[in-house]
Symmetry: C2
Subunit: 160 residues, 2 copies
DNA sequence: CTTTTTGCAAAGCGTTTGCATTGAA
DNA sequence: TTCAATGCAAACGCTTTGCAAAAAG
């Protein structure tokens, strides 16, 4: 569902919401459109900011609660992060994450080998597995250019 | 380093801390011991509670700041979660995570195939990759027994 | 018309910061 | 003796809650 048009996305949302008995409000449509178009794991606040452009009266709470509702019905996902504000992700095709341990940034990447990973039988038995993802972590190129704090500690000692 | 004794763990901590010019305080030793023995991804508050048993005067801030310091020097890790309080994980051997999308619980599991995953060349070039992990997500057996909220919504409509 | 949803405000919870005091090296 | 680490307290940011008004079905 990556190349779908905005129209198709909205239709998808409306269909799913109606199935579940959720009401179709303009606010929800706007929130869904913004978050499903976003490519960078926005926080509720960022979504609010964008939606606010065309809905000056919408409240932050509505945006936040709408995002949580969408998450519960599986329309979007909450990205796993290391603390900090919650980040949302439109449910799209299979992809994987690289997370920078210094700045916390999460970068999507695609890899066919990873997509082919099998889910172990014992896990399938114990749990209901909906999704799999490989998470690589380390340092992004921007943070690699900067000194690590641990280096700083070491150097400050070495200098004395 | 999974079967190391408590003594070995402390030695490991002391060696690493000295290398970096960090001071060895009783508080830091206690925090390190508690978190390295824990098996369930404790929050700062949980670590504080445990350490507090033997250090009635230690402050929450010291525990929290110590955990962050340990994270920066790579002694422990921050677990990726979906919002909620930050959770810490002793750096041990290669393992993977299953996360329940309903209750947020994170369960470690081991899988040799996953351990053997190669890190793609283009990722290695772009970033410095320290760690890899497969994250499965879905519903744990406890939550599977309960109704999903989306089911609830559907049913409450069906009943009317 | 009924019930959900919205907007607002306040409360809650976890994290971070500043600073004087303490303690490791 | 020096500088990092600690403890305390206040500030901060994000999330959650309660409720009256508004809107969808």
């Amino acid at each position: 569902m990556q190349k779908e048009s905005a129209k198709d996305c909205i239709d998808h949302f409306i269909k799913r919401a109606k199935n579940l008995g959720l009401k179709i409000t303009p606010q929800r449509c706007a929130v869904f459109r913004i978050v499903s178009q976003s490519k960078d794991h926005p926080t509720a606040d960022q979504v609010f900011h964008d939606v606010n452009q065309e809905f000056p009266n919408i409240s932050y709470d509505t945006v936040n609660r709408t995002l949580l509702t969408f998450t519960e019905i599986g329309l979007i996902e909450v990205v796993q992060t290391q603390g900090g504000p919650r980040r949302f992700d439109p449910v799209t095709d299979q992809h994987h994450h690289f997370q920078c341990l210094s700045c916390g940034k999460i970068i999507d990447f695609y890899n066919d080998n990873y997509d082919d990973l099998k889910i172990p039988d014992d896990m399938q038995k114990k749990f209901t597995v909906y999704n799999k993802r490989v998470v690589l972590s380390g340092r992004c190129w921007e943070c690699r250019k900067q000194k690590k704090k641990s280096d700083f500690i070491k150097n400050s000692k070495a200098k004395n």
